[in-house]
């Protein structure tokens, strides 16, 4: 069974060939990433036809998932819940901790083991770093281990977000050779946003990629990510000026200010006027460039950008559901039951 990996830990071991727990995207190999992207495209296209959508329904109707979302997240919840439904998987949910038997003082490990008695996969979003890994260890110690999918925990990893970002980039560049060799900018609260952290880490799988981190000094990407990029020979630069680097970018990945992690008044110093994207920035983006954002957005992304074909963030959001479908197909090993393309 795959062992749990925490972020900020040393570079993790590579994942075994078969996917089981999905805790940390960094264990995935390039071959696994490519296979997941390919599978995502297959299920996405299959679902476009009525017959295809009905075939997907027949893959896993005998499986049951639990969505244990203690940290509020409508978006990720809806994406996973509907990914399950696309495959016929039945879902149960715990979204309000007050409905939990934890009010009776049960330990986290016992609660997870209880949930694992009733379902075939647990998809969890918790507020503490490492809780998904702890859950995986708890079920691994039981007589009936089931996969745990980390749907985001604390400032920690958010593996399915990283995977859907990879897929969206690959798809955006599908007629230009994929992610390899592209220049990708990241702008916003890079220090605290887990999506950028996870995604930057995975970029080491794509030769020739150049990363540009655009943020005020206090919000710049943290040293552990930079060390990892250096150790893997990924070219990157840091700047506090979008203006200077924008014309050279193939993609710009915007993120919001992570005010929820403020201890003091950190966010107050962030100047949205300098780090936002609107019509004038759009005018300076390459004709073939793309704009990504994990959503929800704040003032850093003007809604008027939505109408431009280079704005791919709504598609990115929907890609998240398809990537999660692909992941479930892979975890339950039914990819061979999909019709040939």
């Amino acid at each position: 069974m795959q062992t749990a990996n925490l972020s900020r830990a040393p570079a993790p071991e590579r994942a075994p060939a078969r996917l089981f727990h999905i805790l940390d995207p960094r264990v995935l190999t390039r071959a696994q990433l490519d296979e997941l992207c390919d599978l995502t495209t297959r299920v996405r296209i299959l679902a476009k036809s009525r017959i295809g959508a009905r075939i997907l329904q027949t893959l896993l109707p005998h499986k049951r998932a639990m969505l244990y979302f203690v940290q509020p997240s409508t978006r990720t919840f809806m994406s996973f819940n509907n990914a399950c439904h696309i495959l016929g998987i039945r879902t149960s949910e715990i979204r309000d901790p007050s409905t939990s038997s934890e009010v009776k003082g049960e330990s986290f490990d016992d609660s997870i083991r209880t949930f694992s008695s009733y379902v075939d996969v647990i998809i969890m979003r918790a507020s503490g770093a490492g809780l998904a890994a702890q859950a995986a260890a708890a079920v691994d110690a039981s007589r009936r281990p089931i996969p745990i999918i980390n749907a985001g925990s604390g400032q920690d990893q958010h593996p399915t977000q990283a995977l859907l970002d990879i897929y969206t980039l690959e798809r955006s560049f599908e007629h230009r050779g994929g992610i390899e060799g592209k220049t990708i900018g990241f702008m916003g609260d890079l220090r605290r946003g887990r999506t950028v952290r996870s995604l930057a880490y995975l970029m080491t799988n794509y030769p020739g990629v150049r990363l540009v981190f655009i943020a005020p000094a206090a919000f710049q990407i943290s040293d552990d990510i930079k060390s990892h990029l250096r150790a893997n020979g990924v070219e990157f630069s840091e700047t506090d000026s979008l203006h200077e680097v924008l014309p050279g970018l193939d993609a710009i990945y915007l993120t919001r200010l992570q005010t929820e992690w403020d201890v003091g008044e950190e966010s107050a110093s962030f100047d949205h006027r300098r780090y936002s994207f609107g019509p004038s920035e759009l005018g300076r983006l390459k004709p073939e460039g793309v704009v990504l954002h994990p959503l929800p957005r704040g003032p850093e992304l003007d809604p008027s950008v939505d109408a431009d074909p280079r704005a791919v963030y709504w598609r990115q959001e929907r890609n998240g559901m398809w990537m999660r479908v692909a992941l479930l197909v892979k975890i339950f090993g039914v990819e061979d039951e999909l019709p040939e393309r």
Copy 2:
């Protein structure tokens, strides 16, 4: 695509032949109302047999609905949720706004567009007037518009309640020529109750119908409805005495006091002794008359009335589920897949 219509606006345009958004019942033509009533009866009867119930299950298993119920409503929620389940539609729900990513400051339009990424229809109940119409406009502006069903918004329209009321009246009078030519009384808080407002409006589709509004002056039906009835030649009268008009009614539609819309102490002046229905009123109702109520009831309707066959409000409630099934069948265009009667 159908444009959004707010209540208290001028008489809306008629709906196009195909149903898409269901925002305002007033756009429906008599032909559409008749077709929906007919379809409701077909699905209701079909579901009585095990084989029929299983056929209904096969109609839309590849579709996904989201129930976005920010305003509490167990009854309408359960009715819609089970209507979806009858057709095999998978459901996701947001009932507690605190679990929503709106806590991260996302705009309403962005939230709706996000939801629309994952599902095929959004059924929403919100506290603000016009929110369902705003949601429809938001999805219409996206690259993947999906239907929005208004499940009640503020003091505004509540289209599916009006439809189930129409169906219950038609069914109650099915051996007496339907709604046309009947005298229908409405009693209670007519000024603030949206169900009566919507239903009275739709009555213009039924020639010869006579409406009697029974309420204290401060709670009488408002002028915009009366103007609409006059403009469409619908005969109506107002009274503060149930006693005088009861024997002439073919149906009496009772409603509860809408205390939740009180700004001051308005409801305190309502005299339930004069505007309630119990055994003595039942004794003065025509033998073929019927008693409706949208439920939940307050002191205006004595539970002892339930046992009388003329009390159709429990059937009315269940009709709501079947009407919602019919509406979903129509929206997704699968009515031709139903077996012939």
Copy 3:
């Protein structure tokens, strides 16, 4: 229709041959218990294969359940919800009373009757004793009665817990002649725990069984249970010393302190050091003895016991789901559609 029975009432009538409402386990005959245990084993084994799991899915896809859980209970909720899903039953849930139309002042009976309009079975967990029985009476008075399953109400009965306990004991002793003739210890807060109360009551169905109640005097099993055991000729004893009786037990059923029923500081006097089970107690348990616990556990059960094969409480928890599947199969009368063993 089966009439409602409250706990602490005189010994109830026996249940009719067909199961309908499941309110009080005490009405079940030995033949019914045996049949339910046998059915539980059949569905449990069937679900082990993919083809079997898919057959179970086809049994009741046209049925709809409502889980009305006003009292928080993740464990029982998850167990019932997934039991429904195993059979293809669609589920709707009310877990947060604030989302209920009861905020509009509706009576309990009206709410239940409303729920019964939409679904085919109501599974309810309420905080007041007798509420499930009241719900059963409310639906029995309607024109469309549906079964009510009591999923635990107040300090009252918790029938499905008692059934899963019976099943777990029978299964633990399957190669030793079943429950008959065994010596079963119960330890903990026996006065207030409903699981022990229900289970002790059902033990009268098993000739030769000996019960040992292990608790401090203030927490000992209450007189009504002892009277019932005496009246039915069941041998039992009371002790405040686990040490003395442990070696003679075939099974020990541990329970947690029911602090939630404290009026004053009752629980403070409970000495967990004397009434807990850990490695040293395990060492004194018979080699063929078993340890049960309804979970969640408190300090009375050391997690290190989990690894011992005699610890059957995690299996007991999962048995609960299978027993609930069997109960639904029986209530809806589809047991004959299961494949032969």
